[in-house]
Symmetry: C2
Subunit: 267 residues, 2 copies
């Protein structure tokens, strides 16, 4: 039994000594982690060396990220039990550090609005579209589409965006996107939409010819139906003109026009 001799610290002094807040000390009392000291005549808690030592040890464990519910048990642990627990705690710390490092990468890519939840390659692709003078509206439609694709097929998105990007080496693709941009502003009965539909059907035709009726990529490019439907809904929802354009394309014998995978000829 340690005697009550020695300096008796107030809760504020004990807390300052151990480097914790007064409220934290009271909390440790409340949950039974730290024994309540005796009170003085005024009802103030008075701490002796033993209490302060226990408080320092509690803090050492708590600061290391050990939940208070485990601190109690570790304070009483043997060297072997403690060593085992320490291994586990260190594993947790390492995992947490790895998690944060990952987030640092994610955050770095998030430096631009486009980068929110998108890989750098997609953000670069969107910048390429911008460099062609395409409207913010167009960029947003593309970005949202690729967000959905990235969420449903995170492993494939980088390959797909590379293919998509390469297609912009052809000046007629760039030209088509500019027309598509204008088309989004049209009324559904604007004759310009027929012009764009013709241009797109022509592109599809040449695309199939170039690959001898054997376009690269499977007809199902790896996206589930839900995602494809959401992509369509997103693109079509932009304006009634887009909906009309889809109809005009079907009249010309083409369907399944979306951001990934080849179009399909209606047979």
């Amino acid at each position: 039994m340690a005697s009550a001799r020695g300096p008796l610290l107030t809760i504020g002094q004990a807390a300052a000594y151990a480097g914790v807040t007064v409220r934290a000390v009271r909390h440790y009392h409340q949950i039974g982690l730290l024994a309540e000291p005796d009170r003085d005549a005024s009802g103030y808690r008075r701490y002796n060396a033993g209490h302060v030592i226990e408080l320092i040890r509690i803090r050492a464990l708590a600061e290391a990220g050990v939940p208070l519910s485990r601190v109690a048990e570790l304070l009483k642990a043997s060297d072997e039990d403690l060593a085992e627990a320490v291994t586990e705690i260190d594993d947790n710390l390492q995992a947490e550090i790895a998690r944060l490092e990952e987030h640092r990468h994610a955050v770095a890519q998030l430096a631009t609005v486009d980068g929110l939840a998108l890989p750098q390659e997609v953000a670069d692709y969107l910048d390429l579209l911008r460099s062609f003078g395409l409207s913010d509206r167009m960029i947003r439609v593309e970005r949202d589409g690729w967000l959905l694709i990235a969420a449903s097929a995170p492993d494939a998105v980088v390959d797909w965006i590379a293919e998509k990007r390469a297609s912009f080496d052809q000046p007629e693709i760039v030209d088509f996107y500019r027309n598509l941009d204008k088309a989004m502003e049209c009324e559904p009965d604007d004759p310009f939409l027929e012009e764009v539909a013709d241009q797109l059907a022509d592109l599809f035709e040449r695309y199939y010819e170039a690959f001898n009726q054997e376009p690269p990529g499977a007809p199902e490019p790896g996206l589930d139906e839900t995602t494809v439907a959401m992509l369509d809904a997103g693109a079509m929802g932009v304006s009634p003109a887009m909906h009309r354009l889809e109809q005009l394309l079907q009249e010309r014998g083409w369907t399944n026009w979306n951001d990934v995978g080849p179009p399909q000829r209606i047979t």
Copy 2:
């Protein structure tokens, strides 16, 4: 205005798509972070592509450790504002990682019971005492004393422990500690205590002679009064015998005997 066309996902499907829990989605609605979608005839929420995209973006920020209260503002932010915020978020992440790395070090040293809140050098010192066959009780008194010292003078403790450790090169110091250990078990009136007091007084005498009345270290070795008083209380509280030994030493002309700093000759 995006149309309500496209596949309408249930809350469970939308949550799974974005990689969050159903409860999290409801929570985002509750705090106004994510707009409530329309309901179907049964009162079920039905999500369209726009909702899912917003959900993915919320998740991207939240997972990076951004508090939800800031997520709302960042979703609407410009590229410049976002870049600024990202710098800050990354600073926070780096600080957090550094904090965890520190804790990994602390935890590594905590692998043994002695290491709880004590630097490795002190734990090594305690092991040295153990190798001399000193009792667990003695080790505990020493450990608690050094815990108090480490808490009040963390920068100096390594130097002090090195001095203390070096003193054990002298066989008579080791011999004295063994006697001190036995003395702790004594009744206060045991004549063995007088023997130990004589031995300690002799050690002090030779210590002063060796340094020509000019012992190293200031009379006040850098510890505040509170700590010194707690150290005394801790050591004296162990047993009445220790208290008696202190008295016997005073009779022999010595005071201020504790773990750090030189003893003082009563003038």
